[in-house]
């Protein structure tokens, strides 16, 4: 318990550093590339475009229950928004210790600030993506309602869940670098087992139960409800995911405390 307080204390006393680093991460994107921060949005949107162009012809061009000709695109974007947050946090946490090997070895500071910065940056990027998507929706004639606010209940669930997984993988990755190679593949598979590019209705009933074991299934579904279908999502599955996420975070932090001293040895 004292360990956990130590970690929390590390984050609290370095709060300005963390906030400043998140800002720097955001800012440096703007200064060096011509399109700057636009890439934060262009990358996921190009992905959406590809799927929209290719798959909307294969699947039924209109998603049931969305009264908009761009229904499929809107459906895609709302799912991508949730998935992006999840995968970006995992990806950043996965590499955060290895990428910062130099300062970990040479400077004395609470290492827990590094994943905190990574997660903060991922959240900022996702919020920017959210704002841009809402603007695009307005252009497409899809006006989100107050149901959009459910997103802000869902974001913490995704964050906790993704941090729980990502932090653990990030620590293990310091010692077993294969993890860095394996995780993107697993994420790719998980992506296709989550209803992002296809509607839930195309999945045979008997498989839905199995697919629902993936916590991202319900979260992405809730995103669809809140953004694309414009109805209040059912949040019954969220407490379970949240508890699972907190449990994973707890394990990760315990492992982090244990591995902390050995990390600098092998980096």
């Amino acid at each position: 318990m004292a360990d956990m307080l130590g970690l929390a204390n590390g984050i609290w006393s370095y709060r300005y550093f963390i906030a400043n680093s998140i800002w720097n991460d955001f800012y440096t994107r703007f200064v060096r590339s011509k399109l700057g921060g636009a890439w934060i949005v262009l990358q996921p949107l190009s992905q959406v475009m590809i799927y929209a162009l290719i798959l909307s012809n294969l699947l039924s061009s209109k998603i049931p229950d969305i009264n908009n000709t761009y229904g499929y695109a809107i459906y895609l974007m709302s799912g991508t928004l949730a998935w992006n947050l999840f995968s970006e946090i995992i990806d950043r946490c996965l590499k955060v210790f290895v990428n910062n090997a130099n300062i970990i070895k040479k400077m004395n500071f609470p290492k827990v600030t590094l994943p905190a910065i990574a997660v903060g940056s991922a959240i900022v990027n996702n919020l920017i993506l959210l704002v841009v998507m809402v603007v695009i929706f307005l252009f497409l004639g899809h006006i989100p309602s107050w149901n959009l606010m459910f997103i802000f209940l869902l974001i913490p669930v995704i964050v906790v869940f993704a941090v729980g997984i990502g932090l653990f993988l990030g620590i293990v990755n310091v010692f077993i670098r294969d993890v860095e190679q394996v995780v993107p593949i697993v994420l790719q598979i998980l992506f296709w087992f989550t209803p992002i590019v296809y509607p839930i209705t195309v999945i045979p009933e008997k498989y839905v139960r199995i697919l629902k074991l993936n916590p991202m299934f319900d979260i992405v579904d809730a995103y669809h409800k809140a953004i694309a279908y414009d109805v209040a999502p059912r949040l019954t599955a969220m407490p379970v995911t949240l508890v699972l996420g907190l449990l994973l975070c707890g394990i990760s932090l315990v492992v982090f405390r244990r591995a902390n001293t050995e990390m600098a040895d092998v980096l």
């Binding site: 440096t28 004395n108 492992v255 050995e262 600098a264």
Partner: protein, 405 residues
């Protein structure tokens, strides 16, 4: 006041049969590492406030590992470290700098990484800007800086707050002579205000002139902890010992410690300083013509012999040294039992004070390559000013004077 207390610390790097076992060990399973490699063992010392201590040792002796543990970036595998205050290290400047950010933003970032709060950093920002003296570049991206400017900024940030313990790498380059001087003054100022200095160095004169104490680390252990001169003599001898020679340190009549090392294939039989009349002397006057007479005995057949000497002042700083290699009188193919005499004639152009002579017999250019025998404090003498006008310093460099009025 004791600012740092290190007790029995050691560092072992562990290897596991598989990294998975390491992961399991965090989860509470007891797994025995396959191998433990101890880099440092049983290091114990303490530092007082305001002390200046040199850390010397050959490459791979464990100096860096020790410093990393003091800085708390590596955790010791055994023992405890008690720190009373903040430790700052000037080992690698510019750590964590981001080339795309301005100097100012980098200061915020780096000082934040050092653990200072937003307000504290803002409080010293103008001071940092003034000390770095990089002008308007302070608000330009770091990638436009010259390497000297980066170092200036890095040094200014690293020393913006006075630490209780400052670790300095002597080889640290802080830009041009002007800034080197300026940064050195700041370090000295810190010391005056009570900061303990820990100087990592290979340079004899730097340690002797700056430190009141030195610690020699050899093969992961403290080999000697004491006055810088003694420690560095031993260090010097250890470098030669690599060639398989013996090293001994004995106390002289006057309480100073004499270090002798070498393979013993050729030995120094006697060393004596003769005055202009040819009599052995231990007091010469400034500028007097003297002869340093070194007698050597060849114990085993050797292919090559160079004899050299070094005159050092009271503090052990080198004043003058040369050898028969530089004098172009290298001897070849010597037979066992041969006896040789070298007479080095020079004028004692030294200032008032006590001097010592170190003598060595070795191969090639310096005694580090292959050392037969190396004797520290082989002879000591005093220089007194009897007939010259008064002057200060260790060298007698009389000027001619032209005056324009």
């Amino acid at each position: 006041m004791t600012v740092l207390k290190v007790e029995g610390i050691g560092k072992a790097f562990r290897t596991y049969r598989s990294e998975w076992q390491r992961v399991l060990s965090w989860l509470g399973l007891s797994v025995v590492p396959r191998e433990e490699k101890w880099i440092l063992r049983d290091i114990t010392f303490s530092l007082e406030a305001g002390e200046a201590v040199g850390i010397v040792g050959q490459n791979g002796a464990g100096k860096s590992t020790l410093l990393k543990m003091l800085c708390n970036t590596l955790a010791p595998s055994a023992g405890t470290i008690e720190v009373n205050g903040r430790i700052a290290a000037l080992l690698e400047l510019g750590m964590g700098f981001n080339p795309d950010l301005t100097g100012r933003a980098n200061v915020m970032n780096t000082a934040g990484l050092m653990g200072f709060t937003h307000d504290q950093i803002l409080g010293v920002m103008s001071e940092i800007e003034a000390f770095a003296e990089i002008g308007t570049y302070f608000d330009e991206p770091l990638r436009t800086y010259s390497s000297g400017m980066q170092v200036r900024l890095a040094f200014s940030v690293a020393t913006a707050f006075r630490p209780e313990i400052l670790i300095v790498d002597e080889a640290l380059s802080v830009g041009d002579a002007y800034f080197q001087h300026k940064s050195f003054n700041r370090i000295k100022q810190f010391q005056k205000e009570g900061t303990t200095l820990l100087l990592v160095s290979h340079d004899r004169s730097a340690v002797i002139s700056l430190c009141d104490r030195a610690i020699l680390i050899e093969k992961g252990e403290i080999r000697k902890d004491g006055p810088p001169e003694d420690v560095l003599d031993l260090y010097n001898a250890l470098i030669a010992e690599k060639e398989g020679g013996i090293v001994s340190q004995t106390k002289n009549r006057d309480g100073r410690i004499q270090t002798v090392s070498g393979t013993g294939e050729a030995v120094i039989a006697s060393v004596v300083l003769l005055d202009s009349a040819g009599c052995a002397t231990d007091a010469v006057s400034v500028g007097e013509a003297v002869t340093l007479e070194v007698k050597a005995t060849i114990v085993r057949d050797i292919p090559e012999l160079v004899a050299g000497y070094m005159i050092k002042d009271r503090l052990g700083q080198s004043i003058f040294g040369t050898n028969t290699f530089h004098l172009d009188r290298v001897l070849y193919n010597l037979k066992a039992g041969e006896e040789l005499m070298f007479r080095f004639k020079f004028n004692a152009n030294f200032g008032n004070g006590n001097y010592s002579v170190a003598v060595s017999l070795h191969q090639s250019e310096a005694h580090v390559a292959y050392n037969y025998e190396w004797q520290d404090l082989a002879y000591t003498f005093a220089v007194v000013n009897t007939d010259k006008q008064k002057f200060v310093g260790v060298a007698w460099v009389p000027p001619g004077l032209e005056l324009v009025r």
